[in-house]
Symmetry: D2
Subunit: 409 residues, 4 copies
């Protein structure tokens, strides 16, 4: 199955044991030059060691990039403009990071003249799909190496044996198997596998890394304000922040208040159900805030159109089609809707809850004058409602007259 004749490959390299084994395996199996690419997406690990390890393997071209601002500005925020959730709940923290990693990997491949890319995702998951669809969309003739689908290091023992054979250092805590698998970036942390595989069992508290337990959060609520411009958040409590700084701030607030935990069984694109535990503290706050600012600034039908297309948009991102015509078309529709999504939302954060307690906007469409229970001085003529109802009812009445009462067919 494996691609042959690879001259130079750009590996998405974390510096951890698994991708170190992959690095060595690529060198020995393909006898090719390996270029490493390590991205800081806010996963919370130092990148220095990754560079050092790569050097140790004799890698000559080493890329270590801080992509946090790009990640939040060009991927996370556009996605949040749509109030995107997959299967009603999941905020797509892993999904949205993959196309950026792939994009940068392809840029590097073109820069260094590599003919292949490689990633460390397994053959059962969604990430392989997200990486590879992005690679192909950006560089259709790229060769792709997915070691986990190719090699015979199919057990932990074999992997460790390979590591020892090739003098790959194994951290003490990596000897035993991790009790679950983690992915993290500035938007979220996800955990799955092993001890989480039985969906009837509650996730153990050790799984959670980004948030404290609601029970352990302060007994007093924290109230914050988020400002929006063109649908994107730009300030917290009146302090303007860059995209990554803003999300970092919301993560701190969310973490401290036990916000953003999610225990979910989801449907993978490759056809199976899987159970994941997600922590998206800042994103959970942001979603509530964005919905709230839209609630006063967005026209009803604009909002409903967005809502009706959101599941499709979420599915595209989940399935790895960020770099696709259909995602771009939907994005054009979504972005068009955000010009007047400006203003301030106040939120109460308390032990896992995010509650909107106020929204205001220079572009508000909320009209107290029209909606009021008091005398509206003619802003709205209640008599209009009669005709509105009668014509909306006409087809139902004609149906009922034809013997189809109550909307019968």
């Amino acid at each position: 199955m494996a691609v042959k004749d690879v001259k130079k490959v750009v590996l998405a390299y974390s510096g951890g044991l698994d991708t170190s084994v992959i690095l060595k395996w690529l060198q020995t199996t393909y006898n090719c030059e390996v270029v490493t690419f390590t991205a800081d997406l806010g996963q919370g690990e130092e990148l220095g060691p990754a560079r050092k390890k790569a050097e140790m393997f004799g890698v000559k071209e080493i890329f270590v990039d801080d992509l946090r601002e790009t990640f939040v500005r060009d991927f996370v925020f556009p996605m949040f403009r749509a109030n995107t959730v997959y299967e009603g709940q999941y905020l797509l923290g892993t999904s949205i990071a993959r196309p950026l990693i792939a994009q940068r990997q392809i840029e590097i491949a073109e820069q260094v003249g590599a003919d292949a890319v490689a990633h460390g995702a397994t053959g059962k998951g969604n990430d392989q799909v997200r990486f590879e669809l992005s690679y192909y969309a950006l560089k259709p003739d790229i060769k792709i190496i997915a070691p986990w689908r190719e090699w015979d290091l199919t057990s932990r023992t074999k992997l460790l044996d390979f590591a020892e054979q090739h003098q790959i250092p194994i951290a003490k805590d990596k000897r035993g198997e991790a009790p679950f698998s983690v992915d993290a970036n500035l938007l979220h942390s996800s955990s799955e596998g092993k001890i989480l595989e039985d969906p009837a069992q509650e996730a153990d508290e050790i799984v959670y890394q980004r948030t404290i337990r609601p029970e352990d959060a302060p007994d007093k609520a924290t109230v914050i304000a988020i400002d929006f411009e063109n649908g994107d958040p730009v300030a917290v409590d009146g302090v303007a922040l860059s995209p990554a700084a803003l999300l970092t701030r919301l993560n701190e607030l969310g973490k401290a208040n036990g916000i953003g935990r999610l225990d979910l069984v989801e449907n993978r694109f490759v056809g199976m159900k899987s159970r994941g535990v997600y922590e998206t503290p800042g994103g959970t706050i942001l979603l509530a805030a964005h919905r709230a600012i839209e609630s006063i600034t967005l026209d009803r039908e604009a909002a409903h159109l967005k809502d009706s297309l959101m599941p499709r948009y979420a599915e595209l991102i989940y399935n790895g089609f960020w770099f696709s015509p259909e995602r771009r078309m939907l994005q054009a529709l979504i972005d068009t809707s955000q010009h007047s999504v400006n203003g301030r939302v106040r939120l109460k954060l308390y032990k896992g809850n995010v509650t909107c307690v106020g929204r205001e906007s220079p572009n508000s469409l909320y009209s107290m004058k029209v909606v009021t229970f008091e005398d509206d001085q003619g802003a709205y003529d209640q008599v209009d409602a009669k005709g509105f109802i009668k014509l909306n009812a006409l087809r139902l009445r004609l149906g009922a007259m034809a013997g189809r009462r109550g909307g019968a067919l």
Copy 2:
């Protein structure tokens, strides 16, 4: 504008001041016989006084019906099968009650030979639409009287004057104006108007009637189990309950744990934005539970199809089209999906949070054997992923080869 020549009208009568004024106004304005209909939908008020008051007005045909089981079984549960929320958040507690009231009102009209029906909804809201669309769909030649759109009692003072003139008793606490308007039934309580009209201001705690503050809820989580059959809940903590009893039980649990509060700006069908505060304690728990049981029992594409149609379905209910062909068609699709939605969900209730901590089902589609990070003994061939990705990527690659990289158009 008013309908003329009414002989007998069935009034949706709560027994409160406003509908008492309407009752008298109908008698004096139309010089017609008034039949009262008072429904117990779980709003939490005694119905005895309504009967007495109606008698006092000389009403001869008085209907007082307990519709709670019908309400939950035939309206609430079918709606929850779709995980229905309007505008991403609202659980439609008011919307779903209106068609049932209208249906019963029309049944009574046919039984007593009335040629008209009347309701107490105002000309600015959605409820007039929901009532009247239902009336027309069920009885296309019915005459409809909507006093609030017709009369000249347009201020509180005029209304009270009318009441006094006609010896309608005014409860002391009704002298002054209520600070906001309330609708309630077994599913929820809603509050709007007056002190709630400024969406920038937090709702005062006095608004909340069905739930305690999360801050006041127990410091220890309550874990419960809900059993489902064919998509509907049938038992709580192993105790089989009728639909209304089950929702009542969930309401108690939700109330005690501060669950189900929502402060929202929504878009009305009549074209304006309004601000509402909703409390749906049991419904909020039920939504989480239903999503969770579906997560292991429903096929991916079945779930996604439901998700993609849910906003439309919610809009129909919100707008008052319960008795419409399109709602029935969507219901057929939804109900078809629920045959295997059976099993048990365990939920943790804690200070406003509802968290799923376990789901199991005799009809589970979750396959630990397939998804496992461990050796799956051939249940899934990772090599298949390569072909899957390559053919999913083919159109993107052909696009990129034609100069449209990254899904450009």
Copy 3:
């Protein structure tokens, strides 16, 4: 019901009997100044007489505008980018003209300082809705006069009496009632009412005005070529043409070949079914051509996304929501898809049929190399199909293993 206190009104004025009566009626009823606006949208009537008649009524501000290029470029073409048909068949020829007329009318109102606009559409049809929604969206405080909903000239006799009383000249052929009602512009001609009201009866040949009978068309096919740029047609048979000139040319070709007739029962926005006969010769050709050029230049999912949203987009235009946020959002999505919709389509026109006989494009995504039945030299690896199928089947297999064979639920 009528608006009071009108100072100056801009009337959409055709110069015909009905709008002449309206003109006079406005002058006498509202005692206001009337400004006339007559648009050339390619309806095929001379506009000189309209000006003269308006002068005769003492109108001081008379606007006669040739809007044909604007109509086709900014309204017809954008709509055709979506392959728009209402209820599977109707090309929306009337619907798409109304917002332009309304827009120009509002521009004139602002220019001349008028506080009202008036139109000649009846109270049963869609056009009143299309006009008035556009007026309100463009100028929310405009006063609208819809004489047909207000006056008492409810029979032909009364109308003629009014005309005679006010010395309005009545053309001899207008004495009797027209056997059906007509609307026409450069895109189409529509006929409805009177002799067409029974949908069981075939439309008489006299109804058709824009096309000859297929039976009378040439016995030999005409083959034409249409060139597209960015989704819009720019040339016929290699001759570059302005939008209006191009549509005119296609109308000639369509007419001569009996193309574009449609006899339809449709659903009006106001709630009733109506029967219309439409002739859209050039538009019918254009739709076929646009679909054909998209078939080789548009990505599959881009095309399917457009197809899935088209019914909604068509409904918006039909219902009069051209000037709405949701139409603009959909337009953004549609327009984004058209950048590479370039190339040439050849079509055979023959007695009512439009058949594509060739398509080619510099932006073609059709790859003979990949699709060929011959040896493709590795462009496509048939083995990939196995994995593609197996993972697409996985959820179905898991379902079947759980007892739900054949996709049962």
Copy 4:
């Protein structure tokens, strides 16, 4: 890649050269017992020779089934209830036959105790997907053999060599390569490949087999009547016919009048564009007839809901997901809508055109009384339109007042 250890395989066997080679290849490669299954789906070939040939190869279990009625009743008609077209044009004649063949093949496999099935579809097309998704959905543990993806008979020469080596008779006209590939059944005939591969070139007349040229059709129109019950056609010209007999009759009428030709570039599920020429004479008539009967019997929103979901439904059938939960759910929705789709449609067939010239129904929702241009005696109150428009406009007016004129965002 190949499946091993096959004991008994059920082959979809046409009796032609290719599937005869497959038969022999299965026997020699897998050393397994082959069971043949030949279906009459109305492809217009005699099935006797297939049986004889199978006997000649030593096949002991031979199934030859006439599935025409099942095909039309349970597959074609349900699909036509949705007015199904793929990519705006294709009537899915091939797609809809595959699940039935697969279903019968699996039934036979279970009956004879076979552990595998095999088909003759290539690795580039959609049919392999349609067959195999159906197999897997119906019998998740079935082994599937797809010879064209496995063997090395990759050129015509090799195939003929193999045939000669194994004494497989080669019809004289099969020596040379067919100039294009054909699939046929009672619904349609499709042609693709070879001489049709260049989409810029018109299809040669020799491609067409099911229809005469419009030019060669009678100079006089044929008018027919089709009766519908519950959305399905039941009679032609007043003569009740079984499903297959009815479609056969419509095919004759369509063929004689040059109806149902389509030359198309379509998007395959496997990711490439392909060019096909389809002839669907009866189906083209049926689609027009069904749309026409729905136009007077179906509620507007029911029809629009169907229209909005049709592209998705068509895509599912095209992609091979007939036996899927989501197709079943959509079918439930569609079928629910058809109860009142009863009545008679008259159509004019003329040189490629199908024109509706009349529709009538006992369940008609068309109300001449309401729609009439004449005095409607109060059936519709034109004044209602004002309120209808004003409330539909309210959000647009509020938007414009907030500075967003004309639906700007």
